[in-house]
């Protein structure tokens, strides 16, 4: 092998395409060139048929009807469409949206844009485990509230919200409930209708499907939800999202959904054992390791650990050529700011800066986890050996009491 390494524990930033998905997509590049909107010749029909099969597979995975699936270019676009589309469509009803501080940037930045457009947005706090307070949520709802947007599972910590309880509150007050379920779909059961979610965004490339395709689920009955299109044109996707359909990618996402439906339970069982092993051994090998997130309610493949007094980015450098992990989410990891998600959980800068997110996946092996444990143990020890702060800590100096001079 040209590459000795390549232990990929960053599946929350993107999953590799399952080879079965790639195989399913290939014929739609070569043999079926049609534009799925060309309804008057079979090239177009074959493409339309393929899209309809994929729609069925995806609907089946999340327990909804095919007509409730709107294809987009990805989760970011789906989040934008849900938030801005509801804001514009339900203007007459109100202008207030409730969301959470730990949401993905696609939600937070859309909300910021909505505020510029005259909307009002409440950003709820979360507790130390990353869960929102249901009473605070209920108290935040007012006459002008049109939408509550809460992510199903957090991308950095894997914390899963109490979706059913949130859905019940939304139903009680007659407000729409939207969820960015990008990290959850295809990995755990995510049936929006069972928990009262009316709009749900997710993407192909976090469930072993391709990049460049995503979905917004829009509830059609009780209530019939509508969103104002954000991309206008030929009226594709029942007028909610125009643009020639990306047929091969849609086919790939459909296949990925079918595989997920068949295999996600066994994947989750296997991967959570590996995740637990990683967590347990690192905590046994090293001092001052803290778990960020909710150990009782979290994704089976994720663990977010802070190695106190070790700078996360620096730690990554020690094994970067062999192991891919992440500090913060990929979308913000190019910046050296500490994760706003961990800050919202109440972590101080020190722990937030020393966090590493491990996200395992369908293709992670036990051997890889063992290698990662060894590399992390070595890396953290090495960094601490070099660190005067660690030395002070070991000598029993109360670091919080030290007055650092600015320079």
């Amino acid at each position: 092998m040209a590459n000795p390494r390549k232990i990929y524990l960053d599946n929350n930033s993107t999953t590799p395409c399952d080879p079965r998905v790639v195989e399913a997509m290939l014929p739609y590049f070569y043999e079926v060139p049609g534009n799925a909107a060309s309804r008057n010749h079979p090239f177009g029909w074959a493409a339309e048929e393929a899209v309809s099969v994929a729609r069925e597979q995806i609907a089946d995975l999340i327990g909804v009807e095919e007509k409730e699936i709107i294809f987009t270019s990805g989760a970011t676009e789906a989040d934008n469409l849900a938030l801005k589309g509801v804001f514009e469509m339900y203007k007459r009803k109100g202008n207030h949206i409730i969301t959470v501080k730990t949401e993905h940037k696609a939600v937070l930045d859309s909300c910021a844009k909505i505020e510029k457009m005259g909307g009002e947005v409440t950003y709820l706090d979360v507790d130390r485990k990353g869960r929102l307070n249901l009473e605070e949520l209920e108290a935040a709802i007012k006459d002008t509230t049109i939408l509550v947007s809460v992510m199903w599972a957090n991308n950095e910590t894997g914390t899963i919200q109490d979706m059913k309880a949130i859905g019940d509150i939304c139903e009680k007050h007659g407000v729409l409930f939207m969820s960015d379920a990008t990290q959850a779909v295809g990995k755990i059961k995510t049936h929006p209708k069972e928990v009262g979610v009316h709009l749900m965004a997710f993407t192909g490339h976090k469930m072993y499907g391709p990049k460049g395709v995503g979905v917004l689920f829009v509830n059609r009955k009780k209530p019939r939800v509508k969103v104002t299109a954000q991309i206008d044109g030929g009226g594709h996707e029942r007028g909610m999202r125009s643009g020639t359909l990306n047929v091969p990618a849609i086919v790939g996402m459909g296949k990925a959904a079918a595989i997920a439906k068949a295999e996600m339970e066994q994947d989750a069982a296997r991967v959570s054992k590996l995740r637990d092993k990683l967590e347990k051994e690192l905590s046994a090998n090293l001092e001052e390791v803290y778990l960020n997130g909710d150990i009782d309610n979290r994704m089976p493949h994720v663990t977010n650990l802070s190695f106190k007094h070790v700078e996360g980015e620096g730690l990554m450098m020690t094994f970067n050529e062999n192991i891919a992990v992440s500090s913060g989410s990929a979308c913000t990891s190019a910046s050296l700011e500490p994760s706003y998600v961990l800050i919202a959980l109440g972590l101080g800068d020190d722990l937030a800066h020393s966090s590493i997110r491990f996200s395992l996946g369908r293709f992670t092996t036990e051997e890889e986890v063992d290698l990662a444990i060894a590399a992390l143990t070595k890396g953290v020890s090495h960094m601490r050996d070099l660190s005067p702060i660690w030395e002070m800590y070991k000598e029993g100096i109360d670091l919080d009491a030290v007055e650092w001079s600015e320079h």
Binding site: K6, Y8, D10, S13, T14, T15, C17, V22, L26, F29, Y30, P33, G34, A37, S38, N40, H41, F43, G44, T72, S73, G74, A75, T76, N80, E88, K105, A106, D109, S110, T203, K211, G212, V213, Q230, I231, D232, G233, G234, G235, H236, S242, G243, T244, L245, N246, V247, P248, A249, E313, M316, N320, I323, A324, V325, S326, A330, C331, T332, A334
Partner: protein
């Protein structure tokens, strides 16, 4: 039965070389390009190399190319964000634009209260330049002109240098929907007086689901889709890396083969025109004989005939894929807004044949013969 695909203006067949680049990326470049680990950096490098390639192909600098999900999003982004962020009060457009431009303009009028003027077109679909100039001169507030380079249904080509110069002279912003010309003609934005142009991978043998917007570095707009910091904060969303790499490869190949493909395809088009003319009395062509025209598109008007109504279906039964109107609206039973704007005879059926280098002369002759059999009653013992 064999199938003949004469609907490349709706979507071209992807080039095998492009699929190769994409599948290789799917299997080898699987990380998130925003991740800072080795895998992520390799993906980022591949995307930036593709951006450089596309920029080079159209004479742009890399900072001016923004990847989107396709032509529709590019056009929406240019129009809506220009209106929102550049203080535009008036839009001047035409009524033969693609639906994504027509409807983005309508949405801009609805959301931002801009006024709309639609320049008239002649019987070939070309813009009335005098009228455009008069309109431009009458505007005192910031104005956006959005006029397509080449029409997707009839294939007429507007002189975007002339239009752009008029816009410059009158301080108007100029967006041109170039989806039908990028990858089919050499485009050099360095020499074009334009502010925004758009491209879509699947119109030049690249993949679906990927496009780009070129934004003149003199113009600053904010994103249409908010979120992560991708595309230098201009277009959030994890990059469609295979789409981007595939589109770059497709554009390189398209420009490299431009002369040969153009000559080859033009011959197909000319042959179909003369074959049809010889075989079917009363047939006419929706094109200006005195001007250059998209070599990829032949729009034919068939004489009134009992079989005209179901002509597309009839051809389809004979294995021929063509289009009446553009694909984006061809599911709807509405007639083409473009043909209607051209003031054509509503009793005549317009069909768009659109070609690529993957078609053959033999296919052209088969199509002409098939249409003759539909239209011209056979004499017994001929």
């Amino acid at each position: 039965m064999r199938r003949i695909f004469f609907d490349s203006a709706a979507s071209t067949q992807i080039a095998p070389e492009v699929v190769k680049v994409m599948t290789s990326a799917m299997l080898n470049l699987h990380a998130n390009p925003s991740s800072i680990h080795n895998e992520g950096r390799r993906c980022r490098a591949a995307i930036e190399k593709a951006r450089k390639s596309i920029a080079t192909e159209i004479g742009a600098s890399i900072g001016e190319i923004f990847f989107t999900s396709g032509g529709t999003e590019s056009n929406n982004m240019a129009i809506k964000c220009a209106v929102r962020d550049l203080g535009v009060k008036h839009i001047i457009t035409s009524c033969v634009e693609h639906h994504c431009v027509l409807n983005a303009v309508k949405a801009a009028a609805r959301d931002y209260g801009v006024s709309i003027d639609r320049v008239s077109v002649n019987q070939y679909g070309e813009i009335n330049m005098e009228e455009l100039e008069t309109l431009l001169k009458s505007k005192t507030e910031p104005t956006l002109v959005t006029i397509m380079h080449a029409n997707n249904e009839v294939g007429c080509i507007n002189d975007i240098v002339k239009i752009g110069n008029l816009c410059r002279a009158n301080n108007a912003y100029f967006h041109s929907d170039t989806v039908q010309t990028v990858g089919h003609y050499p485009i050099n934005v360095d020499e074009l007086p334009v502010d925004f142009i758009s491209g879509a991978g699947h119109k030049f043998h690249g993949p679906n689901g990927i496009g780009f917007l070129w934004i003149n570095s003199e113009r600053t707009i904010n994103p249409l889709i908010d979120g992560g910091a991708q595309e230098r904060n201009m277009r959030a969303g994890t990059e469609n890396i295979y789409g981007i790499l595939g589109m770059a490869k497709a554009l390189e190949m398209a420009n490299e083969n431009y002369e040969t493909h153009k000559a080859y395809i033009l011959n197909l088009k000319d042959t179909l025109r003369s074959e049809l003319q010889n075989r079917i009395p009363g047939i006419s062509f929706n094109e200006n004989p005195d001007k250059e025209h998209l070599y990829t598109v032949l729009n034919v008007s068939f004489p009134p005939h009992p079989k005209s109504d179901l002509l597309i279906l009839n051809m389809d039964i004979h294995g021929i894929a063509a289009s009446g109107g553009s694909a984006c609206s061809s599911g709807a039973a509405k007639g083409s807004h473009v043909i209607a704007a051209l003031g054509g005879d509503p009793c005549r059926t317009a069909v768009r044949f659109s070609f690529s280098h993957m078609n053959t002369l033999e296919e052209v002759v088969y199509v002409a013969k098939t249409l003759e059999a539909i239209y011209v009653p056979r004499t017994v013992n001929a």
